[in-house]
């Protein structure tokens, strides 16, 4: 069997190291006397759980945490729990769980290993406990180191009067003027609202042509050229002439359909002439 340091009881010249939290020091021989004294103070509150208590107990072995004797530690812990029990101090459940586990571990460590046994060996369990204690200790030291750093607001300071950054909200208007004009138009045309409006400056509509031709046809007893029916001011501009011609022609077709007038064209592309339909 290899020699595992944390399994070896550490020889201690002082057979009764004082237990933390228990005053006066309690070891087996003193226990009765101490109990009689009734000045015992068990300060379980001072510990952050059983691991913390174990860590404190292990410190009394005055050795590197990797060298601690888990056996001795188990004894010390169990003694502590016994003491608390004797004093009828209610220990939190996790302290008792740890006690049971340590008692179990102790028995496994003392007995020769059972080759049939499953699960981790007693040595592995003890090693893990040692690891846990070392890790907790390391974290505790790390916390202390952290707190000892040059801290902001204590050793290092930020600008005491930070300058205010004004948030300038710029509103971007992509169609600002259009919005404005639309809004205005919307307001001003609310009463004469038309769902669809189109400015037909250059478009002569068929309705307009119908009105015009209906009015004029009464005077056209003889064949008259279509061009004569075009409205005034629509002859010069080609676009306007085209629109007016088309509208007027469409209007004559409509009136012909209604039997109001007759249309004639002598040849292809010859001028179109119309006249009122004789009664």
């Amino acid at each position: 069997m290899t020699r595992v340091p944390y399994l070896t009881p550490v020889p201690d010249p002082d057979p009764a190291p004082p237990l933390p939290g228990l005053e006066p020091p309690d070891h087996a021989s003193d226990r009765a006397a101490a109990r009689a004294d009734e000045v015992l103070v068990v300060d379980v509150e001072g510990f952050e759980g059983p691991l913390d208590l174990l860590l404190n107990l292990s410190r009394m072995q005055k050795v590197d945490l990797l060298q601690i004797s888990v056996l001795e530690l188990a004894d010390q812990y169990l003694a502590f729990v016994d003491q608390a029990r004797a004093l009828r101090i209610e220990l939190a459940a996790d302290y008792l769980v740890m006690a049971a586990w340590l008692a179990f571990l102790k028995s496994r460590l003392l007995l020769p290993p059972d080759p049939e046994a499953e699960g981790p060996s007693a040595e592995e369990m003890a090693a893990h406990l040692a690891f846990q204690l070392e890790r907790l200790n390391a974290m505790r030291e790390a916390a202390a180191r952290l707190m000892a750093r040059d801290r902001l607001g204590q050793d290092r300071f930020a600008r005491g009067a930070p300058e205010v950054v004004t948030r300038q909200r710029q509103v971007a208007w992509q169609a600002g003027l259009i919005d404005l004009m639309r809004a205005y138009a919307r307001l001003r045309t609310r009463d004469e609202f038309r769902p669809y409006a189109f400015d037909r400056r250059d478009v002569f509509t068929m309705e307009q042509a119908l009105d015009r031709v209906r009015g004029l046809i009464g005077f056209a007893g003889d064949w008259t050229q279509l061009a004569a029916f075009l409205p005034e001011g629509w002859e010069a501009d080609p676009q306007r002439r085209r629109s007016a011609t088309a509208a007027t022609f469409a209007a004559t077709l409509e009136l012909a359909r209604q039997g109001r007038l007759e249309i004639s064209q002598s040849a292809s592309f010859a001028p179109i002439t119309i006249r009122r339909r004789p009664e």
Binding site: F157, G160, V165, L177, D179, L180, L187
Partner: protein, 219 residues
């Protein structure tokens, strides 16, 4: 505290460069400008903040931060020419509410116009927030009071408004006929239309004429 050297000559003060560091740190961390006396109170005995301040000022000469004198006191301040960095300009394209746009339009077209007149045109009450917003945007300001009973205040558009909307004057705003001619009374979007479309002189005269007799007689 009681062990503090009472006799300034007992211990010599820190060397000047060290004092400079100290003043620098103390001023930096202070929430308020500090007078020379306040600074001296923080430093070890025997320090002379006045002397230090001079060299510290020189050190920050031309830097992005400067030591500024505030009354009798001193403080670090952003260099004046970098003040623009202290503004976080967030360009947020938000649309003015419909109420605000309409109100602005009415003011632009009819200025000077009273609140009652705006309400008459819009057909609804103008909330205080709307006018406040326009005034805050510096697009609208308060004009002279109308010489009518109650002497109501009038609203007019500002230079900033003209600037923002690229107008020479509020009279440049197109009239109804032009709006219609430009298709602005249609429901379909006409975002591409630019105001230069309506430079036509005749229509201009027409429109503003129509505008003027619409509602109000300006004086």
């Amino acid at each position: 505290m009681t062990d503090e050297p009472l006799d300034p000559h007992r211990f010599s003060p820190p060397p000047l460069p060290e004092q400079e560091r100290m003043v620098e740190a103390v001023l930096f961390a202070s929430a308020h400008p500090m007078s020379l006396r306040e600074i001296a109170a923080r430093l070890p005995k025997g320090c002379d903040p006045a002397e230090v301040m001079q060299s510290l000022c020189a050190r920050y000469e031309g830097r992005g931060v400067q030591l500024a004198r505030v009354g009798d006191a001193w403080a670090f301040r952003t260099a004046a020419d970098l003040g623009f960095l202290m503004q976080e300009s967030m360009v947020e394209s938000r649309r003015l509410s419909r109420a605000a746009t309409e109100t602005l339009a009415i003011i632009a077209y009819h200025q000077p116009v009273t609140r009652a007149e705006i309400e008459e045109i819009r057909g609804v009450a103008v909330s205080k927030g709307t006018l406040d917003q326009l005034i805050e945007l510096e697009w609208v300001r308060i004009g002279r009071r109308r010489q009518t009973p109650g002497r109501p205040v009038t609203f007019v558009v500002t230079e900033a408004f003209l600037d923002h909307f690229g107008l020479e004057s509020a009279r440049d705003l197109p009239g109804l006929a032009e709006l219609r001619a430009a298709g602005l009374l249609e429901s379909r979007p006409q975002a591409a239309l630019a105001p230069t479309l309506f430079r036509d002189e005749d229509v201009e005269a027409d429109a503003s004429g129509a505008l003027a007799d619409d509602l109000f007689e300006d004086e």
